[in-house]
Assembly symmetry: C2
Homo-oligomer: 264 residues x 2
């Protein structure tokens, strides 16, 4: 099977035009087929403030009310997504910008109200919900999908969905068609042994070592969902997951000594 | 050759959620293949005002400065486009939202500065610039493109482009692959003999009659670019052009007595 690289970039890159351009230059040169997922970044908050849309927090959780859904649809699917696509086009990468509603790629369900009503937040049932054949059609046509963190409920509403989750669900959905390498880019060079030391990157983590790291309190709260997502993806057939720095994407894809490799 | 319906809807439908939903219900039931182009509507002005982006007019012409480009990217490609897509998905129409940058469908050039600098406005060289094969791939995969009025310059920038122009350039580009029927939906039931009488629809206009209507001052300034676009499209191989009311789209597509048929 052919290798497919699925790469997720976070807010720290999107918030810096220079970092973003540099990353996209590298991304454009990576071998096809490939797929990019982007998160939101601070720009949604900045524009939201101007529009008078205040972050709606309930018990410390961010709620996607109707106004916030409009905001993230404008910023994630419009401003961020289309500018990334236009930039990639200028770098000879034939990108197409997608939300989960486009070509029904990622149907989801509105998160049920339990203790907290998260509002217009989408949960994806699992990889089998993803419309993998149409993504495969795009990839085989030499097109590189660029996915915004939005899904839809099949009843006319878009839904805000965590970009890490979208990355792992797309990776697992494509794993029966490709050897999928899933790469999470974030603001560090990898999972750190010492949170204060940016060079203390752990080269590899398997499930036994992950348990140990959690017991010792080395992996922090923010990393645990990322690593849980990574192991879940591996369990479902993704070949490799790497957590690392967007600035090192070429080395990571080349299999050089960069980032933290997650393996079963 | 198979018939392809290319339908352009204007601001008056987008500004009314009820009208829009009713139109999309009708559109979803139209036979495939089909393609939708939407304009902007007043929502961009409303959101622009909240963001403090004032319409920038020079000598009566609207200028797309950098802030306005961001605004229309958010509103046209994000808010409007993705909500139309999500609604169509709920109506069993497998829509995909696109700008001209996506899959490089409509490359354009920034309008050269002459007397007026229009800013980030894109002119499309002609139908040969359109990436018709990939649109054909979408249509053959049962996907319905929904196009926002934005193109790109191939150098990383999106460009604001008139939706009527996009409709006619797409129609002419697809005319060697399909029998294309191009339908412009606007706020009237068709081209009117008497601007004050909504029921005075002219059933058909050929080029001789068009000259006569212009000489008599019956077609107004706003209609002339639309009709010029229509005749240009017919000259370049589009089979039929109809100008009519979105509420009558089913009748228009069925070839019933609705709207104004433009013919050579």
């Amino acid at each position: 099977m052919q290798t497919l690289h699925i790469i997720k970039i976070g807010g720290n890159i999107l918030d810096s035009p220079l970092k973003l351009e540099s990353f996209l230059q590298d991304f454009a040169t990576l071998p096809e087929p490939k797929l990019l997922i982007h998160g939101g970044g601070k720009i949604a908050s900045t524009i939201g403030q101007k529009l008078g849309i205040e972050p709606n927090m309930v018990e410390g959780r961010r709620i996607t009310d109707a106004e916030t859904l409009k905001l993230v649809t404008m910023v994630y699917a419009g401003l961020v997504n289309k500018n990334v696509v236009a930039q990639l086009q200028s770098m000879n990468c034939n990108a197409i910008g997608l939300t989960g509603a486009d070509a029904n790629i990622i149907p989801a369900t509105k998160r049920p109200v339990k203790q907290i009503d998260y509002g217009f937040v989408g949960d994806v049932a699992g990889p089998e919900a993803v419309n993998a054949p149409i993504l495969d059609t795009f990839l085989k046509s030499g097109i590189t999908p660029v996915c915004a963190p939005l899904t839809h409920d099949g009843q006319g509403s878009l839904l805000n969905t965590n970009a890490d989750t979208i990355a792992s669900v797309l990776a697992t959905a494509m794993a029966h068609l490709y050897q999928v390498k899933l790469i999470y880019c974030f603001e560090k060079k990898g999972v750190l042994q010492d949170a204060e030391d940016d060079d203390s990157v752990i080269p590899a983590i398997d499930s036994a070592y992950y348990r140990e790291l959690k017991e010792k309190g080395i992996v922090t709260l923010g990393m645990i969902p990322k690593l849980d997502n990574a192991f879940a993806a591996l369990d479902l057939g993704v070949q490799a997951v790497v957590i690392g720095d967007a600035a090192e994407i070429k080395a990571i894809v080349a299999g050089e000594d960069a980032g933290t490799l997650i393996k079963l």
